[in-house]
């Protein structure tokens, strides 16, 4: 999935800045078609296959999120604090989303894959590099949620 981000960079003309982006993006067209499908699938799932989309997370998680200021926990699919359109005009929300995305994009390419490439495909093939990457994914996620969140929120 994450290699599509590289393809999108190439389509945007990043090949002029680094050799990493100099490749024929048309060879990756199949993968972009899968992405198109993933977008359509999200639309279908949210609009035609859902009665209500509230995510019933653990009440302990709800209490913890409430204490951090996420009042929508347990009452929505996504935290409204970050994913309502109001986030576009909220400086802090924008910074959080942007830093999160930056880390995801940078880390996925550095590690050579994301959840789909390493945690599912790589581990399915019993690849040691993927195991190292997945341990890294979890170490990073745990550090973020258990230590950095209390500083941010």
């Amino acid at each position: 999935m994450s290699s599509n981000l590289r393809t999108l960079c190439t389509i945007c003309g990043a090949g002029g800045a680094s050799d990493f982006f100099k490749f024929d993006w048309k060879t990756q067209k199949w993968n972009l078609v899968v992405v198109m499908g993933a977008i359509i699938g999200g639309f279908i799932g949210a609009n035609f296959l859902a009665i209500d989309t509230i995510v019933a997370i653990n009440p302990d998680t709800v209490a913890n999120l409430n204490s951090l200021g996420f009042s929508s926990a347990g009452q929505a699919y996504m935290p409204t604090e970050l994913f309502d359109n109001a986030a576009f005009t909220d400086f802090k929300s924008l910074v959080i989303l942007a830093i999160g995305g930056l880390l995801v994009g940078f880390g996925a390419r550095y590690a050579g894959g994301c959840t789909s490439g390493h945690a599912i495909s790589g581990l399915s093939n019993l690849q040691l590099p993927s195991l190292i990457a997945v341990i890294g994914f979890f170490a990073g996620g745990l550090a973020m949620v258990h230590f950095i969140f209390t500083l941010l929120f």
Partner: protein, 137 residues
């Protein structure tokens, strides 16, 4: 024809991501707090099927729909790139609550601020491309 196949797989993937709630920021947060089996069940069952499929394909030399050989090229050996890159990815996963697949699914589901995450993720990818030669691999 192939394009239709890829599109169908993508749509199935997108519906699964949304309906299984793997695309929900809350589920990722809950996972990292070990307060539900939910996400471990999703990743775990995908993994069981994945391992089984890879074994079957290799054992019985199963071909693709189009009669082509299916190969699983081994990933380059390294510790630094996977450990450091993985750690950075994990920090972002925990914060944005979305990995690249769900980022696309959430666009379709109508959570438009995810576009900020997408553009930033492209920027992060670009940054990696610029710094690649100076990073330990």
């Amino acid at each position: 024809m192939r394009t239709v196949g890829y599109l169908a797989i993508g749509i199935l993937f997108g519906i699964t991501m949304f309906k299984s709630e793997a695309a929900s920021w809350f589920r990722i947060y809950e996972m990292f707090r070990f307060e539900s089996f939910h996400m471990y069940g999703i990743i775990g069952s995908a993994l069981v099927i994945g391992v089984l499929m890879v074994q079957l394909i290799e054992r019985f030399n199963i071909k693709s729909f189009y009669g082509e050989e299916i190969n699983f090229p081994p990933k380059a050996k390294s510790v630094a790139r996977y450990a450091i890159g993985g750690l950075i990815f994990g920090l972002g996963w925990g914060l944005a609550g979305a990995c690249p697949g769900p980022i696309f699914t959430l666009i379709g589901a109508g959570f438009l601020p995810i576009l900020v995450v997408l553009v930033a993720a492209m920027l992060g990818t670009f940054l990696y491309g610029m710094l690649r030669d100076r990073l330990p691999h």
